[in-house]
Amino acid sequence: VEVTSDRFREHAARALRDPELRRAMDRAGGAFVERRRDALARLGTYEALRAHAAAVKAHTLEHLDHYLERLAAAVEGLGGRIHFAADAADANRIVTEVARAEGVRTVVKSKSMLSEEIGLNDALASAGVEAIETDLGEYILQLGGDVPSHIIAPALHWTRERVARLFHDRLGTPPDADPEALTRAARAALRRAFLRADMGVTGVNFAVAETGTVVLVENEGNIRLATSAPRVHLAMMGLEKVIPRLADLPTFLALLPRSATGQEASSYVSLVTGPRRGGEEEGPERFHLLIVDNGRSGVLADPALRDALRCIRCGACLNHCPVYRQVGGHAYGWVYGGPIGAILDPGLLGLERTKDLPQASSLCGACEEVCPVGIPIPELLLEHRRRAASQGLDTAGERAAIGAFAFVAERPALWSSLTAAGRAAGQLLRDGMSLRGGWLPLLSVWLRERDFPAPAQRAFRERWRAGVEREPVNPDPPRGTS
């Protein structure tokens, strides 16, 4: 998968000029935010659940080798096969080998960001295996030759009108079909795919080490079908998805749907515990669990960044991020966009290829506020910025400017005289010279879409000395406490 995360600003500027995207983002707008707020208001125990979830995740990451071994042993004990992949190429090789060994020609897939991360569909196509996306949003994107822009709502950036045009071309629905008719058309096409598929490939929301259970959370029922209709089920997970015990699961099942869509519960929760056993009438004959590293162990080994691996992919940080909501997910230039992407992608891919992402934030803190596992996202953004600066990934101009700024800010006399000179220059500018002359690069950037306040005649410090300092204190102050 191509990485263009070093060009966020360029992508974002283009996104802001795309009327179709803006329409889609505006419509998606506040619905997730409002539903989440209402759902949490009804929950009452949110803070306790959040603290518990954060603690379970932090503990699991501390002892990840232990829990992964237990998970692997449990899955094998159930008759499933365990595969470990070090990177994307390894993961793709394993899936295609499983497909070949199992005689698979058609795969139905559930939405899996990990499969996007490793570029699985292309790898399967190269191996002659047809892969069909069965999540409605992913199905739209696959038909339209596009990629997801949101962790849980992959086609968020598509308007329903655009979907109607696509389905008209590809599925023969009327050009003005409504969302219900479009969904029915997709459902009919997908039902045929489920029935002829040899293998279901799914992601994993949680993998329970104690029991070897893979937990899948969804609303469309496509995962339920993908894990039961085909004779083979391959589930793939990033190595951070393991949780210790089944008893830990209710906390996460309370937090995930509420944080993601504001639902009290998702429509389907599937707990897949190994392949079909004797006497059972449903479920796959063969079960494979693929555990993928692809950069995660590097993040795990880095204490300052490790918290990013707590993420349960609810998407709340995206829904609440005022930057994401302006530009959408593609601007981030890789699979994971929004605040979580801005801290995770540099960890997985390295800062050099993703250097714009830690800058793609006003540090407003809305992401941390809504994160159900308490990832301190702004702190991690600042850590990436610190590393970027110390690795010289920013421009020489910025380095020089900040060095000069710090030099002056430690020297009050110099600060006073330079700021006074700056204001005097500002007065001149206001008196007729062009503010767009370009000799003040930051100001000219500011002024492209915003006005700038006219500089004050006198700074506060000058007014203080000139008389404010000597104004009296009220001897009889009010004591209102209305």
């Binding site: 006003s362 540090l363 600042l382 700024f405 006073s416 879409e449 915003r450 006005d451 209102g480 406490t481």
Partner: protein, 254 residues
């Protein structure tokens, strides 16, 4: 609490671009019986360097301000963002340095945002201002709200003054300023400001107010470019105007 003495941290934006707001803060505090000092060696809190990833440079600026404010019982800041720099980030920046780290924690404990100082330290919920008939909308500065817990205090003071407080649907959404973010990602920053200005205009308020000059500069700059007729004023300015109106006094010098 008469006789309380505070050091004012004007902040560089307040000092250089919004001196009226800082003068209003001084007068408001004195109106409430507080003695105000202005240690003149203060400059900028260093947040631009810190947020850009230059911790060594930011730490040097932090050390300078530990000196500047070393004697003050309370450091009152008419900004949630610069206040958060002193309260939350100085201790983190200097954590590796025993003495400076301890001094930073000490300063953090003495640093308080202006409106919270009034409500929580002075225990004053009504400054004796008259803002009756004024339609105001309040913008939550992100750092005031999320790093300093400031949101109730300014609203309480404005309501007590009789202002009609009209909440924008996105009052707690970022304005897009973000310090250097405003010029590093100018397109996104400006788009964020435009969305916020739409929310402000939809309230029908005459005045947009906030605890933070940075947000006000961003929003006023965007509103003025869009031709929106809304005045942006720091909450200290509004409250001081209300005090003057209540006492029937003329505008002071300055």
């Amino acid at each position: 609490v008469v006789g309380l003495k505070v050091a004012l941290f004007a902040t560089c934006l307040g000092d250089q671009l919004f001196p009226d707001a800082v003068v209003a803060a001084v007068r408001l505090l004195r109106h409430l019986g507080v003695e105000v000092e202005f240690p003149e060696a203060q400059t900028c809190c260093g947040q631009p360097a810190y947020n850009a990833g230059y911790h060594r440079e930011a730490a040097a600026i932090a050390r300078h301000h530990l000196e500047v404010f070393s004697g003050a019982e309370h450091v009152v800041v008419p900004s949630g963002s610069c206040g958060a720099m002193l309260r939350a980030h100085y201790p983190a920046l200097l954590a590796g340095d025993g003495r400076a780290g301890a001094a930073a924690l000490d300063l953090a404990g003495r640093t308080v945002e202006l409106t919270t100082f009034v409500t929580d330290v002075l225990g004053v919920g009504d400054v004796g201002a008259d803002l009756r008939g004024l339609r105001v909308t309040y913008h939550d500065s992100c750092h005031a709200l999320r790093s300093m817990g400031v949101g109730a205090a300014p609203r309480r003071l404005l309501r007590a003054a009789g202002a009609e407080l009209i909440e924008a649907h996105d009052a707690d959404v970022c304005c897009g300023f973000g310090g250097l973010f405003a010029v590093k990602m100018p397109e996104v920053s400006s788009a964020m400001a435009r969305s916020k200005v739409e929310g402000v205009v939809a309230t029908g308020a005459e005045v947009l107010t906030s605890t933070d000059a940075g947000c006000l500069m961003q929003l006023a700059g965007s509103a003025s470019r869009a031709g929106a007729r809304v005045r942006a004023a720091h909450v200290a300015e509004l409250l001081w105007e209300g005090v003057q109106r209540a006492s029937g006094a003329s505008a002071g010098g300055g």
